[in-house]
Symmetry: C2
Subunit: 343 residues, 2 copies
Amino acid sequence: MSTGPEGSANRVPTLTDVAKLAGVSVATASKAINGRDEVRAATRKRVLEAAELLSFAPNALARGLLRGRTGTVGLLTSDLEGRFSIPILMGAEDAFGAGQVSVFLCDARGDAIRERYHVRALLSRRVDGLIVVGSRTDARPPLAGSIPVPVVYAYAPSANPDDISITVDNVGGGRLAVEHLLSCGRRNIAHITGEVGFQAARDRADGAEAALADAGLSMLGGKPYYGSWDETWGRAAARIVLEQHPGVDAVFCGSDQIARGVLETLRDLGRDVPGGISVIGFDNWEAVAAHSRPRLTSIDMNLERLGAAAGRHLFAAIDGDAPPTSEQFPGRVVMRDSTAPVH
Amino acid sequence: MSTGPEGSANRVPTLTDVAKLAGVSVATASKAINGRDEVRAATRKRVLEAAELLSFAPNALARGLLRGRTGTVGLLTSDLEGRFSIPILMGAEDAFGAGQVSVFLCDARGDAIRERYHVRALLSRRVDGLIVVGSRTDARPPLAGSIPVPVVYAYAPSANPDDISITVDNVGGGRLAVEHLLSCGRRNIAHITGEVGFQAARDRADGAEAALADAGLSMLGGKPYYGSWDETWGRAAARIVLEQHPGVDAVFCGSDQIARGVLETLRDLGRDVPGGISVIGFDNWEAVAAHSRPRLTSIDMNLERLGAAAGRHLFAAIDGDAPPTSEQFPGRVVMRDSTAPVH
DNA sequence: TACGGCGCTGAAAGCCTTTTCGGCTGGTTT
DNA sequence: AAACCAGCCGAAAAGGCTTTCAGCGCCGTA
């Protein structure tokens, strides 16, 4: 145990100790420490020195009890392993960071029972608000029971449109990807993506189709190639697409992993990327996109900014500021080497 | 804001409310709810029903204030993005999970100032203990200042041997990898790994060398090929190794990403894996290892178990149980297709 | 019948801080 | 010189809970 000097009354110092040492009352000590102006400069200095000497840290529990505000927030996620929770979590932490807010992290593992349990515990700890992060973009049932604090849903929206949900604009993302390919001069575009059961897959496909329609085009094969989110599917699907549509000159992939698989097949077949065929991924997962051959252009959904927005919205709701509404975040194209700008 | 029925005295119910509704004193209500035996069964029932009706949740702040135990723990990590913090975090949450502990998550971003700031805040919230998770296995300076609660260091050990550190046995992991290759009948083994500045790289290399020495062998080239942790280096290094040691029949890689690069080069060159050359990675990063061609055998360091152990050790320290000591976790081989069992 | 003892309940103190408000001091105004 | 004011400071209450201890009614026993 890395406790301090064991002999010296091993107890966390309280305001009373500080006051005693400084020779003032606790009330004065409190005011001095909290920077209130009803205290003489000299007195404040004495108190501050005493506090420093004892390395006093005010008891946030007592403070929270009194003020009815704890300065804590619960972050309820469904899959920590996923790549989506973490950036959001970081963004949220940033949004709070500078201030006085600490974050309770709970992983419900996608289990409703466990989720309820965690919510109970968090409410018991009197968090000022809750952020609920999903692992898929499909709408999720809102938190069960009536929650006495503001709740913001991030990434996965709440099924209740009255709730505040901060989400990613997957339709826009799909559109962005296709528009980028079009701007590279491509016309024969196929879309290989993940499981059709995912809203994200369907939304991205919708965006892609819309962008193509705007250009008077349509997807090769008339619809997306749905499969799974991994490289293995990407490799297989690429073969299928090449066979069915030898004239394909661009592939929009629903994930970076799929794109990676596509790139591998193209390489196996000696196809020139991006000369003959352009490939664009989705998610901008650095570890995957930055080391493929060629390096993969991808759509980044700015998850960290999304997390930060969730944090800000929660704040606003807590403070009862402006009626915070839902928000949808656009993505951006991160150019690497698998797509070539128009010559 | 998803608050409950706004009209009904919109205030979180307190024990007093419950007591009033049940027609008993707060003292009795407290005892009834906490399952103490100084209360008649009928009375307890009344209280419990009242609590249920109001959906009363005891105020953990008040309780913590009184008992001097908050049931909270601070988890201080240095890089959330990294793949190492998360499993540890989940393991720790599991270790606490069943019980009454909530976890404050703080990301210091590898910055000492920010770390100090977070520690201050956590102590102010009167956490019962701290887990410090590093992003590399290099020893880190212990937390600054005297910390009045137990601290457990996970993944990255504290430089102070008196502290409790739960770490991964990288030397053992390197040994494991080589022993596996030897058991596959390989004798000409090269080691391609990451930056020499990482203790993890050096440790794994040491383990590998020791295992080879035990078998009367040594590494091809006499020492590891140090570089960086990514695929690009893996691809380049594989070419170098093949050129310098045409007889190489196995490569132990310091990371799955390096291994992935090695596999790609071998594939480009038409070499047979695992027939002609075996490849083994390190970290067992599912996303990378499970979709390479062939699928990659790797060393898994059981980070989740490590996290759980950190949680348990922290508990023990908090409860003042057995003097908790440091611990080192072994890894295990996860067989896939890039190494073949001996025929 | 009187009394000891048992089982249950409630009043009150305490945990640590913030905030209100009354009181004290010393200087200024009439 | 009396009244007043500003500036500081301290006593006390509040916030929700647990725990101790005294008290009450009731049963069994002498």
